[in-house]
């Protein structure tokens, strides 16, 4: 960028969060990289609008729409770029128009030259230029996050850093770039803290399937598991045994005797203890990752604080037994680019006889229809759930029938059905992280009594948040859901 200049000060390195990361929808990332690399052997650049996703221990800059230079706005050479003020002004205007949380990222290339491959590391010249550019870009925009990225000539060779403003401008190196769609990939920067499994022999049989790279990915992933009941306990045990290195899990309940027939890891001695703590102790015993970290949180996983902690996760498992908490988890998947595996089982009985039951698991991620589009989360079903003991009241009230339905509203739940749903979800998780097959399925539903495994053929609706809110991050209003204990009926 511009002619070489002396570095007259060290970059103002600060601490935004323990981890800083960038994330981008995969196809957008590929398209940007491809277009920039077309300029080789010259350098090339573009600005990209960003949104923040600030969690408890991780801040992520979500890369959104590129604002490409017009002819004449950038003058490239193999070793430098001259970015005109008009281009910078145009991009700043766009960011202002998009709202106070919108930041700007500068992506530029170091292409291969006659001296060899271009390296994806910031040069002294980059430091000098960005130390002058970002104070201007971030002026008056303290709610936004900014970023700079340099692409080497190899697609996986990349460096990135995050800029933000308080009373002054700060910068922190980014550790990884998360690329999210039907699959989940990570690009590690030179500042990555990822490490391989400390005792890889234990993972031999699974490494034969997904390779050392897959093992490394699992070892360094942080998954969030919301709900530790019949499905959540199975997910936790599976994740611990598969070699996932970091698990954060939520459940506020204590173990009751009636949970023991489907709560993997709990025994009679655990009745009265906190579910999440019992399952944490079990997971630590069976975990194969090394090191292994389990954060047990005895709170509802969709409270405001929990939603912030979920933003630290790379993948979320939605194991809740109600519909309402699925709303924020569904929206988080798209707005914050955190793939979420949603699963659930349903048993319908009529007069004491089970006549219909099903279990389903689906991946919620950009490029996949969301739970609303696949009709797993419909306004009518959410309304029925809110009606509680007065379920279908509007059907009865107009005809003078009793408002309150009969029964105690507690639905059956059985281990084999949960096992099947979790099995489907874990297979989809493997596909998400390891890309074992060419195709990622949509929502899968095992239906009984048909014994039919059905894949949803529903597309995303064009006006849905899973299309329009992708990558909006903290600019997307996701409401916490903390179900009140339902007051007793009169």
């Amino acid at each position: 960028m511009v002619e070489a200049q002396p570095v007259d000060r060290v970059l103002p390195v600060g601490h935004l969060r323990l981890e800083v990361q960038l994330a981008c929808e995969s196809q957008s990332w590929e398209a940007i990289g491809e277009r920039l690399r077309l300029a080789a052997p010259n350098e090339a650049c573009t600005f990209v609008l960003t949104r923040p996703s600030v969690g408890h221990s991780r801040a992520t800059v979500l890369l959104g729409q590129p604002v490409w230079p017009e002819p004449g706005e950038v003058t490239p050479t193999p070793y430098s770029l001259d970015i005109k003020g008009d281009y910078i002004s145009r991009v700043m205007d766009r960011a202002i128009d998009e709202g106070p949380l919108t930041g700007i990222a500068l992506i530029h290339t170091h292409p291969a030259t006659e001296f060899g491959a271009g390296r994806g590391v910031f040069s002294q010249r980059d430091d000098w230029y960005e130390d002058r550019l970002f104070p201007t870009l971030s002026l008056g925009r303290s709610h936004a996050l900014f970023a700079s990225i340099v692409l080497g000539s190899e697609p996986s060779d990349v460096d990135a850093r995050v800029w933000w403003r308080t009373d002054q401008l700060w910068v922190q190196p980014a550790q990884t770039i998360r690329l999210v769609s039907k699959t989940l990939r990570f690009l590690e920067t030179p500042h990555s803290t990822w490490a391989d499994h400390a005792d890889p022999d234990i993972m031999d049989r699974s490494t034969r399937l997904w390779g050392a790279e897959g093992r490394r990915r699992l070892q360094n992933l942080r998954i969030g598991v919301v709900g530790a009941g019949g499905t959540g306990s199975l997910v936790l045990a599976s994740a611990a045994m598969m070699g996932i290195g970091k698990i954060r899990a939520w459940d506020p309940d204590v173990i009751q005797k009636t949970n023991l027939n489907r709560l993997l890891g709990a025994t009679r001695d655990d009745v009265g203890k906190k579910k999440i703590e019992v399952l944490r102790d079990f997971a630590v015993k069976i975990a194969t990752a090394k090191p292994f970290e389990f954060e047990a949180i005895d709170r509802i996983g969709t409270s405001a604080e929990s939603l912030e902690q979920l933003k630290d996760c790379d993948v979320i498992f939605s194991c809740v037994d109600k519909l309402a908490p699925r709303v924020p988890l569904n929206d988080l998947a798209y707005a914050h680019l955190i793939p979420t595996l949603d699963m659930g089982s349903w048993i319908h009985e009529d007069g004491g006889r089970v006549d219909d039951f099903m279990t389903h698991a689906g991946l919620l991620a950009p490029g996949m229809p969301c739970a609303r589009c696949t009709q797993k989360l419909s306004p009518g079903a959410l309304k029925r759930e809110a009606q509680g003991v007065q379920r279908d009241a509007e059907r009865r009230a107009g005809y003078g029938l009793n408002l309150t339905s009969e029964g105690d509203e507690i639905e059956p739940s059985v281990l084999p059905l949960n096992l099947t749903g979790v099995g489907l979800a874990m297979l989809q998780f493997m596909q998400l992280v390891m890309q074992l097959t060419p195709r990622t399925p949509r929502n899968l539903t095992m239906r009984m009594p048909l014994w039919d495994l059905d894949e949803s053929d529903l597309d995303a609706l064009s006006d849905c948040g899973c299309v329009n809110d992708v990558g909006l991050g903290d600019a997307c209003n996701i409401r916490p859901v903390v179900p009140d204990p339902v007051p007793p009926s009169p």
Binding site: P379, K383, A397
Partner: protein, 150 residues
């Protein structure tokens, strides 16, 4: 638990759009997660024995992700037709029943209200990003234009 801000904002919008001062209950209906959206003085059709009464409906705390109930109510529950409906030979409002327990005690003293079973959202799907309480209200009051039989 007070109604969430999303619902409060939607009710304010409904008041502005309808010209009636709508309010929302502070409490949910016991045993449910439903809030009551209501106005105490709403015009009623000439064929009713009262020309004004309370009118409202129930909406979940998860609104707009969750749709309002496909029904509405008027009060007092003693409202009748001025002249008997010839087809049914009755002054009762058709498919509207006096329903105790429909409101929390903080609203209209928890009185029994006349609930209209109104299946409008069977024909049009509620779309959280498109529909508002104004649409719901508009659908509800169209009931007053319908004949008193069926």
């Amino acid at each position: 638990m007070p109604a969430p801000s999303t619902l409060l904002e939607a009710v304010a919008h409904l008041s502005a759009a309808s010209g009636y001062e709508f309010d929302v209950s502070d409490d949910v209906v016991p045993g449910t997660q439903l809030y009551v959206v209501y106005t105490e003085a709403h015009d009623l059709p000439e064929r009713y024995t009262l020309r004004q009464g309370a009118l409202g409906f129930r909406a979940p705390g998860m609104y707009p992700d969750a749709s309002p109930e496909d029904s509405f109510f008027i009060a007092p529950s003693t409202i009748k037709l001025v002249t008997p409906n010839p087809e049914r030979n009755s002054t009762d409002l058709n498919r509207a029943s006096a329903t105790p327990g429909f409101l929390p005690s903080s609203i209209l003293a928890g009185a029994s209200v006349l609930v209209f079973s109104w299946h409008i959202w069977d024909r049009f799907s509620w779309r959280p990003r498109t529909h508002t309480l104004v649409d719901h209200y508009t659908h509800c009051v169209r009931r007053f234009e319908q004949p008193e039989h069926g």
